[in-house]
């Protein structure tokens, strides 16, 4: 059997047994003709796979910073109290297992949890009590799960809307009949569409590179592994306009001559699976997928969905490809572009959900439609997920060029002080930058804006981010794996109040080394927010650090250094 089946084989075991047993590992290894340590390597990489028995209900509570500020702690303790279990422990409770998890794409409805991958939103201690009671009474989980709302809060005027306007399935791909690959590429290039996952690589260039490759087999992959904390715009697209996304993929396939496509859906969005499958089914029925699509000769395109298993780094395109190949999601070295050597060594296009949807709209509406929307270099609109200290969290379709201030007004932010652009891997801005425009010329934004008011502790935000990177690093390269641990030591020191201006300088210097030497985008961006925050919020940090002392003693917490000894002596004398 092919290695590419590994993730699904593991999912089968996980779903059937609640964990992946040693004997199952041996069997899978035998089936794939690989050693058991390779299977274990994959299992332990993804946090939704377990090697020890779990309860009937596995509860994953989101621990993102938004959740933390909206009552994570109370909800967590209530879960523990009601179930009698402890988070992160395999305690052989037949009913429940509790785990924390990184952002699950419900930042506008936090605190949120997944129970057996069904979403539960806006949790409060009371709600948790009732959920656990219902589950104990064997009430089917499907009936009590929440239907996550698509909070679309803002759409520009009719003639400027791109995503959230009327949609008729097939409108976009029907245009393929009167076009050829080159004319489509030209239209995409005219609008200057850039990758919406956050890297903003020109889409037409990527497609062109893949098209040029003479290989027979090529792949189109939709990156629906939306893991950047605070981002949930792709989820809304997959919920509301899955057809649009698939049409975008079909267009890409038409351009580059690919016959197979895969949607890599993060496991956190498993509840979107039925609708996605149904959509694909309808596409086949309408001859939008399969052989001789729309009657075009030699145009074959088949589409399937691969479920991830919980790993932020798989959002990086080469890590995603590795994951699809049934391996640990470790980003590849930058020797080849995926458009030359991608999935199974074949030319591959990996694009974000929003990019495909946008491409479909561009073909449907024509390049002229976009002429007057956006800025000089950023044409069209952008989907932004807004969360945090705002009255109206949710999705905003904004015209490129809108200022942060305008957006903050739209979402009714209260006393905004610290705004995180794109998520932890992006950048933070302070009040003086609220006039900056959201577009590629000024403030690039991958799709999330988290707003924090002046009562939120910045160190707490940075601690959450650093912890996130520390555990989500793939662990392959030294600067990212070790660097994030070392930066976390600085957070601990800051929290104890032992830092001086030397420490703040070191945070910047060390962060820069990670940026210089890390293997992929995760490590290169992980330190960015931390090091810039110390400058942009210098007034805040001024009160968090000590002045250098004259007698050249380094700040040292003697009390905590002897605390262990004192308590041991105390315990042993009783």
């Amino acid at each position: 059997m092919e290695r590419t089946h590994l993730l699904n084989l593991l999912w089968n075991q996980q779903n059937a047994q609640g964990f992946i047993s040693q004997s199952a590992i041996t069997e899978i290894a035998k089936l794939l003709k690989i050693s058991t340590i390779e299977v274990e390597g994959v299992i332990t990489f993804y946090h939704f796979f377990h090697q020890k028995p779990t309860g009937k209900y596995i509860i994953y509570l989101n621990n993102s910073i938004i959740s933390e500020f909206k009552g994570f702690r109370e909800v967590k303790t209530t879960f523990e109290k009601e179930t009698g279990c402890v988070f992160g422990k395999y305690d052989n409770n037949p009913l429940f297992s509790l785990f924390e998890t990184s952002c699950i794409g419900l930042s506008d409805q936090e605190p949120a949890a997944l129970i057996n991958f069904y979403p539960f939103t806006d949790l409060t201690p009371e709600k948790v009590i009732s959920i656990i009671k219902d589950l104990k009474n064997n009430i089917p989980i499907k009936t009590i799960a929440d239907n996550p709302k698509s909070k679309i809060q803002y759409i520009p005027e009719d003639d400027k809307t791109v995503f959230f306007k009327d949609y008729t399935p097939g409108n976009s791909i029907n245009k393929l009949k009167e076009n050829n690959a080159d004319s489509i590429l030209k239209t995409i290039a005219d609008v200057n569409l850039k990758g919406r996952g956050g890297a903003f690589f020109p889409t037409a260039l990527k497609w062109q590179a893949c098209k040029k490759n003479s290989a027979k087999t090529k792949y189109i992959i939709c990156n629906a592994d939306e893991g950047e904390p605070g981002t949930f715009k792709d989820k809304i697209l997959l919920m509301e306009f899955p057809d649009l996304v698939i049409e975008g993929m079909i267009i890409a396939a038409f351009v580059v001559g690919a016959k197979e496509g895969i949607i890599y859906l993060r496991a956190e969005y498993k509840y979107l699976l039925p609708k996605l499958k149904e959509t694909i089914h309808n596409f086949y029925n309408n001859n939008y997928l399969g052989d001789k699509i729309l009657g075009i000769n030699n145009f074959t395109f088949n589409l399937k969905i691969q479920l991830g298993a919980g790993a932020y780094v798989c959002g990086e395109e080469t890590a995603l490809i590795e994951s699809l190949e049934g391996k640990r999601g470790e980003p590849r070295i930058r020797k080849y572009f995926p458009t030359d050597v991608g999935y199974l060594g074949k030319p591959t296009i990996v694009n974000n959900v929003e990019t495909f949807a946008n491409a479909a709209r561009i073909i449907e509406l024509g390049a002229d439609y976009f002429k007057n929307i956006g800025t000089e270099k950023s044409k069209g609109t952008k989907l932004i997920s807004v969360s945090g200290d705002v009255a109206k969290p949710g999705i905003y379709e904004i015209e490129w060029g809108m200022t942060v201030k305008e957006l903050l007004q739209l979402c009714q932010a209260t006393a905004p002080n610290y705004v995180q652009i794109t998520g932890p891997s992006g950048e933070c801005i302070n009040e003086t930058e609220f006039n900056r425009k959201i577009c590629n010329e000024d403030l690039t934004c991958g799709g999330a804006i988290m707003v924090f008011n002046k009562f939120r502790g910045i160190i707490k935000i940075l601690e959450n981010f650093t912890k996130f990177f520390r555990s989500e690093s793939c662990g392959v390269c030294t600067p990212c794996r070790a660097g994030n641990q070392i930066l976390f030591e600085k957070i601990k020191k800051l929290k104890k109040g032992l830092c001086t201006s030397t420490d703040l300088q070191e945070i910047k210097d060390w962060g820069n080394i990670m940026k210089l030497t890390s293997r992929c985008g995760l490590g290169k961006t992980a330190s960015n927010t931390f090091s810039t925050a110390t400058e942009k919020f210098s007034d805040y940090f001024k009160f968090k650090i000590l002045s250098e002392n004259e007698n050249q003693n380094v700040e040292f917490d003697m009390e905590s250094a002897i605390q262990d000894f004192d308590s041991i002596i105390k315990d042993n004398h009783h």
Binding site: I34, S35, T36, I37, E38, E40, G41, T44, F45, H47, A311, R328, E330, I333, R334, K335, R470, S471, E472, S473, C474, G475, V476, C477, T478, P479, R481, A482, G483, N484, Q485, I486, E489, E506, W510, I513, L516, T517, S518, R519, N551, Q552, N553, V554, F556, M558, S560, A561, I562, Q563, D564, F565, D566, I568, I569, N572, H573
Partner: protein, 420 residues
């Protein structure tokens, strides 16, 4: 194959097109350090210690195939420092107690430490407690020393093509796991090769780990036990103003002081230009003068060490950490991976010689309290210089002191600087 021209730090170099940069640089006389790279193999790009800049963008050198017109920045201040920082990260991320490591002298990482001139690490040591796995048939894997370069993952295969090692877990918990079943298939020779390609002391072969005598190891330059004669102290400062030196041993073994005395008769020359104040050598217990320089051996493991160290800071213009214990904790820091309670109970209550209810953990207001871990001196007070070694060579110590006190230039020969 076509010859191409490229630049390293502005210098024009030539090589065959498509040659790996590490090899191409070597051909042209430029050394780029690596730990994961193998000649003629697919690059791994894991250790990142070969980070350089290509046309202004930083990238791992081992992943580059040289092409016409490429412009590399290798030995700029920025990149030299970045590479050194990565090696320092490796040292703090695991437990690298070279004096007690079987691989010492055969260790690529240790050697690189010397090559790159690492005296101390700018980062705090993390002191991890990972698995030392002796369950495999022939191999022992010490996770504490592993830098996760993945050489073994890629290179060690069974005859029927199965991998023996593979990375497990993720993030800061990533470790290299071993497949017992596949490992058992390895021949003695294959197992020894695994040990050899491991750039640290993480993979050892049972019964073979110390087979090669010290002094004959790959990176040994001097013979074991070879003494290096002390350079005569010729100092022109005869104006009668002797410089004042203080020394102390905190959580150390006095080995650095023994080394200090290794200057033998040279000490007499030294005494013409320096005077000892508080020091075990003079047995002066309290500072009676302000000193020019303080030499500290050992780190801080109890409250008394901290008091002494702070007194030194107050009474000395310049403080020097001498030896590994002073610099980062050294051998006493072996205990930093174990909770204090376990250490004390093992030592005083549960040891072979202690009898039930007869012994207790010493505790009195007159004896210092044990700290939760051993701290390096620079985490307590500002330290001006670090002299690495276990112990540092006498020549080395006095050359540094003379340089600091009398501005004397000095150079240290390779064998003087190597301690394994």
């Amino acid at each position: 194959m076509k010859t191409v021209t490229f630049k390293i730090d502005g210098r024009v170099c030539t090589t065959k097109k498509g040659k790996n940069l590490i090899e191409a640089a070597k051909q042209n006389g430029v050394f780029i350090p690596t730990l994961c790279h193998f000649k003629n193999r697919n690059p791994l790009g894991t250790c990142r210690i070969c980070s350089i800049k290509l046309n202004g963008r930083s990238i791992a050198g081992c992943t580059i195939q040289v092409d016409e017109g490429m412009d590399f920045e290798v030995n700029s201040t920025e990149m030299l420092d970045a590479r050194k920082a990565i090696l320092e990260m490796m040292f703090v991320e695991g437990n690298h107690f070279c004096p007690s490591c079987e691989k010492s002298g055969d260790c690529a990482m240790q050697n690189l430490g010397y090559e790159m001139g690492i005296r101390y690490t700018r980062f705090p040591h993390l002191f991890v407690d990972r698995l030392v796995d002796a369950r495999p048939e022939r191999i022992v894997v010490n996770q504490n020393r592993c830098i996760r370069c993945k050489r073994c993952v890629e290179e060690v295969k069974t005859k029927d093509g199965y991998t023996v090692f593979n990375a497990t877990n993720r993030g800061n918990e990533t470790v290299i796991g071993i497949d017992y079943k596949q490992e058992a298939k390895l021949s003695e020779v294959e197992a020894e090769r695994a040990m050899e390609i491991c750039p640290t002391g993480s993979i050892l072969v049972k019964g073979k780990s110390v087979a090669k005598p010290f002094g004959q190891r790959k990176y040994d330059y001097g013979q074991l036990g070879e003494t290096i004669p002390f350079n005569k102290t010729k100092i022109n400062h005869t104006n009668g103003n002797k410089k004042i030196v203080a020394t102390t041993s905190l959580a150390g073994c006095f080995g650095c002081h023994m080394s200090l005395l290794d200057v033998d008769l040279g000490l007499l020359d030294l005494l013409e230009v320096i005077e000892f104040n508080k020091s075990p050598i003079t047995d002066i217990k309290k500072f009676s003068k302000h000193c020019d320089i303080g030499l500290i051996e050992g780190g801080c493991c109890n409250t008394d060490n901290i008091e002494v160290l702070r007194a030194f800071r107050k009474n000395c213009d310049i403080l020097v950490s001498v030896g590994e214990c002073a610099i980062w904790g050294g051998l006493p820091a072996n205990r930093n991976t174990i909770p204090l309670e376990e250490c004390l109970k093992e030592a005083y209550l549960n040891s072979m010689t202690s009898e039930d209810n007869e012994t207790c953990i010493p505790n009195h207001e007159d004896i210092p309290k044990i700290l939760n871990k051993v701290y390096p001196n620079h985490e307590i007070v500002k330290i001006d210089y670090h002299i690495p070694g276990c112990p540092p060579n006498a020549n080395h110590i006095w050359s540094v002191v003379k340089n600091i006190l009398f501005d004397e230039e000095f150079s240290i020969a390779y064998p003087e600087f190597k301690y394994d």
